[in-house]
Subunit: 162 residues, 2 copies
Amino acid sequence: MSVTDEYLANNDAYAAAFAGPLALPPARRLAVVACMDARIDVYRVLGLREGDAHVIRNAGGVVTDDVIRSLTISQRLLGTTDILLIHHTDCGMVTFTDDGFKQQVEEDTGIRPAWSPEAFRDEEGDVRQSVRRIRASPFVPHKRDIRGFVLDVKRGRLNEVK
Amino acid sequence: MSVTDEYLANNDAYAAAFAGPLALPPARRLAVVACMDARIDVYRVLGLREGDAHVIRNAGGVVTDDVIRSLTISQRLLGTTDILLIHHTDCGMVTFTDDGFKQQVEEDTGIRPAWSPEAFRDEEGDVRQSVRRIRASPFVPHKRDIRGFVLDVKRGRLNEVK
C-alpha cells in the first residue's frame, strides 16, 4: 500500500463523516500565507474552521509573484481583506543560499533555474520583507490589516513580528 | 477584537496543549499541492498528521514556477519523493478568464499584471495540465509517484484523475 493509498483510505472516513457543503468565499475574509513546512497544520495552529480563510503556502511562506497572484484573486474575486503571514523557527530556507542552490541544480541537471530559490537568513527579517512586498504590490487592494508571525515549532506558539 | 486577534487566542490554547517538537524533513516523504480554497483542510481531508508532508497551496492548486520552486526544495533538500495534487469542484478559478481578469485589474489600477492569473475551464483538465508541468520540469528529480485528485466539496471525497 503506497503512502497515497493510505491517505485515500483516510479520506473515505473523512467523506463518511462530512458535515456538508460550505460557501466558496472565505467566511472570515482572511487569507493566510504560510510556509509549506510539514509541522505547520495551519487550521490547528490558528483554530481555523473549514470555510474560514484562504490558505496559501510555499517554501518559506515567502511572498513571491505567485502569492501576489493568489492574494489578488483572493481579495478581488472572493472578498478577503485581512492577511496573516506565518514563517517559523527551524526553517529549511535558512540552510542554503540562492547562489549555492542554483549552482547545485545546474551541476546536477545542466540547467540553471530562472527563478530565485528565495533562501533567507532570518525568519523575522523575511516576514518583514514579505509584508513589504505585499505593500508594494499595485494589485492587492486591501492592505490595512497585514500581520506577520514566526511560529515557534518547539512550542506551537505564534510570535508577532512588529 | 479583530479576526487575527481571535485566532491568536486560539493559538494560546494550541500552544498550551502542544505535544512537542517534530523533525524538519516530512516523515512520509510526500508533498501535497492543493488549492487555497478555504473549505479544504488538507490535514483533515487526507488524515495527515503534523510532520507527515509538505503542503503547498495557491489559487487553483495550479503548478506555477513557484510550485516548481517549492517542489524542487522539497525533494532536493528535504527528501520528499511523492506528489499528490488536489483541485476541487466549485472552484473560483473557473469563473473568470485570464484576459478578462487582467483587463479588469488594468482598468482598476492602471497596471496590467505581468503574471498569468491561471484561470482554467475544468478541474480535471487542470489536474492533468499540472501533472504535465511537473513531468516537464528539469528541476524536480522524483516523478514516479505523482497522483492527481478532484475533491468533491459537497461530499468531502477525493476522486482520482486518471
